[in-house]
């Protein structure tokens, strides 16, 4: 197992290297640069600025300088967000995104699995059909529709139930107060819940037809016990493979949700950095995302091996 982990870790290094190289040169292939703006800088000023950031050197040399700094753990300064290094920006943005994402994913997993199992146990009955149609809605309605609607209902109109004011803040991080997290988490979790429910229903229906479930029934076990100890682990397998990449995507932030709710997450840096040609910021975010994907896929594989003892990690 240690050997497997070590090999996966070593195997990730060349992958990361290729990703960094590709991202570096593709960024540079895009026309324009970080200091192009409406109002052109005087040539000498521009030359000085570029020299300060080593942008006047040949591209190959810049690449080597970047790699050298990276090896020391330095992601470089942000070109646009003056006085901030990329490490600082990611360091403040990632925890926000991660907290939102993890909460949303946990909610989606619990609720989605529960709904999926219920649907599978009532296959082709009304419970099944209603869960699946709601799930289909959840997948098809984009977050930029659900977010404003929820904002309107809970934030602008406000809801009062039995004398309790149920209105919620519709924006801002507020130091991570839970009331501020409710709406963004729900918006993030909705489509994921739907996907998880559909996947769980599909694989659970399949597993419930397996011969060993028949054996478990022949032993006289009650339905709940059969689902929990005989079916769930096998049914969770496809879900785990999906969760790795999905979690990476949601952890690195969702631009739409962060923009709508005005949250200081990492998602916006992707778009801002790319639009502004903030080379170091984009590369930093790409590295962060790629590392997360690699790490989470590794975790997913370990999880699969734990769920199914027949899988041998080699």
């Amino acid at each position: 197992m240690m050997r497997y982990a070590l090999r996966r870790f070593l195997g990730a290094i060349p992958t990361l290297f290729v990703i960094i190289t590709l991202a570096f040169f593709m960024m540079r292939a895009a026309p324009g640069g970080p200091f192009d703006s409406e109002r052109r800088l005087p040539p000498e000023v521009e030359r000085n600025v570029k020299a300060a950031y080593n942008l006047d050197k040949p591209l190959a040399q810049q690449y080597l300088i970047y790699l050298g700094k990276l090896a020391q753990g330095d992601l470089g300064p942000s070109y646009k967000n003056k006085d901030f290094t990329v490490t600082q920006l990611i360091g403040t943005g990632l925890p926000v995104s991660a907290r939102l994402g993890l909460t949303a994913m946990a909610l989606a997993l619990l609720l989605g699995s529960f709904l999926g199992i219920c649907a599978a146990l009532r296959q082709n009955k009304w419970q099944d059909y209603s869960v699946m149609s709601v799930a289909m809605l959840g997948i098809t309605i984009p977050t930029f529709v659900t977010a404003p609607i929820l904002t309107l209902v809970f934030g602008i109109y406000g809801i009062t139930l039995f004398g309790h004011d149920l209105s919620l803040p519709v924006g801002g991080w507020n130091g991570g107060a839970w009331r501020n997290m409710i709406l963004p988490v729900i918006v993030l979790a909705l489509p994921q819940t739907a996907i998880v429910a559909r996947m769980m229903r599909g694989s659970m229906v399949e597993v419930l037809r397996a011969n060993y479930i028949r054996t478990a029934r022949a032993k006289g076990l009650a339905v709940g016990r059969i689902v929990l100890s005989h079916a769930l682990r096998a049914a969770a397998l496809p879900l785990v493979s999906y969760l790795g990449p999905a979690l990476a995507a949601i952890l690195t932030g969702s631009l739409v949700v962060e923009q709508i709710f005005g949250l200081p997450g990492i998602g916006r840096y992707f778009v801002q950095g790319a639009l502004n040609r903030d080379y170091t910021l984009v590369l930093g975010v790409v590295i962060c995302y790629a590392s997360l994907i690699i790490a989470l896929n590794f975790l997913a594989d370990m999880m699969v091996a734990w769920l199914d003892p027949r899988v041998r990690l080699t």
């Binding site: 082709n124 011969n211 028949r214 054996t215 006289g220 076990l221 096998a234 199914d308 003892p309 027949r310």
Partner: protein, 586 residues
Amino acid sequence: MSALLEITDFNVHFALADGDVHAVKNASLTIQEGECLGVVGESGSGKSQLFLAAFGLLAANGRATGSVKYRGEEILGASPERLNTLRGSGVTMIFQDPLTSLTPHLKVGAQITEALMLHRKISRAEAQVRARDMLDYVRIPESARRLRQYPHELSGGMRQRVMIAMATITGPDLIIADEPTTALDVTVQAQILEILRALKNEKQTAIAMVSHDMGVIAGLADRVQVMRHGEIVESGNADEIFYAPKHDYTRLLLAAIPKADETPPPATAIGAPLLAVEELKVSFPVKDKGLFGKTRQLRAVDGISFSLHQGETLGVVGESGCGKSTLARAVLQLLPKSQGRVVWLGRDLDAHADIRKLREEFQIVFQDPLASLDPRMPIGLSIAEPLKALEPHLPRETVRGRARAIMQRVGLDPAWINRYPHELSGGQNQRVGLARAMIVGPKMLVCDEAVSALDVSIQAQIVELIRDLQKETGLALIFISHDLSVVRRLSHRVMVLYLGRVVELAPSAMLYTNPRHPYTRALLSAVLSPDPRAERAKKRELLTGDLPSPLDPRAQLTFLKSRLGEPDYRPKLEQVATGHWVAEHD
């Protein structure tokens, strides 16, 4: 006193997309305490559904009507809670295919103790002790260690023993054994039946033995019921059914079982052999577990030599893992060999630049007929494909004509040319497999367990077809099977394999009447015959336990203990009579 189980006017319907299927029709049966009832029928006869439905294990689209009385209590339509207390406690079940019938991610111990803790309300520690005793009872060695293993870490025979342990541990009154030995090797089958016999005799457990094989139930059943198309067509004492069958279908089932005296006469070997295999070896690298696991060679085929003449059938028998399929594939160059020579018509196959051209001359038919066909290809195309690939210049019309002709020949309606494999039965699909192999007019055909997955009566038809094809075309056959009786029906000579080596090679008549090697004898004594009196009286030379691992270099010396000191020694073949070769043994 009322019967243990009494089923009357029992019907099972399934609602399918294309209509209602009446799977069990007006079935009635009784099982007394401590009695063994054999239920025989082919696949699809409703024999399994009958018992599943009786205890509330029907699929969601199934519906059961009638009456099922357990000790006088009506249980059909009883509450799930009542059924749950009955299942696993009073009535337990053993299913076919123990690998898929055990939960893959739970340890064997947890699965065995589960029902015990649920129904008998005892502590986990006590349940563990009982589970160990139970594993000892079903003769699983190293029981303490086995409890901590997962099902996939056990052999097929051991898994089925775990199933039996699971079904026996709560001390049920009735065990329903649904094809408990199907797909197991003959020697393992004999061991499993021995355990079931012990359960019946020592613990007075009633057994409902469901099987398609008359031989399996012959030695165990007190009474027999024969099912066909959902109906019970004949029932009676075992002796009546076996020795004086009244219904035509029962007679047909009995006739389909290969008889002991059916052996084709030895073929006259004329001229040079078609195929000569010399010291063939195939090994696979196997990696040990752990950080510094070294790679060892698993010698699947470990030096096998034989020859085959035109029109001759060589039977190859042995248990799973003996290398018979690997041998077939290596001979046909479908697998790379490690050492040795395969000579085809006097020429070393290695010397041929393009082996693909030669494929026209030797073909193979595989075991699982459905899985071996492309599910998305109409059978006509599957049949014609080898011809199109090997003789691309043939005009379309000729190919189509020959496909139709060969379909006709193997007993398929040429009008089915556009049907898909899933629309055909197992026997029909195997006919497709045969047609696919025969369309190019091969000189040699390898049948790798070609009839093993088929019902007995279908098996007999396919064997007959193969024999006719051989008569017409002078085909040489290599017929691989774990079933000694089927091999006997067809083969001129028989080769017995044990862990990748030949232990005995002899003309059929000689091998079956005068087996010399202890392994051959054990195999033969494990063969079941549809003769209850003989089966009950039979003293078996049972091999104990499982096959040793082929990775163990000393495994080859199981029958030559005196040479155990030299682990690299390989038993030599000695000729004991003309054409009768036996490996050295103690």
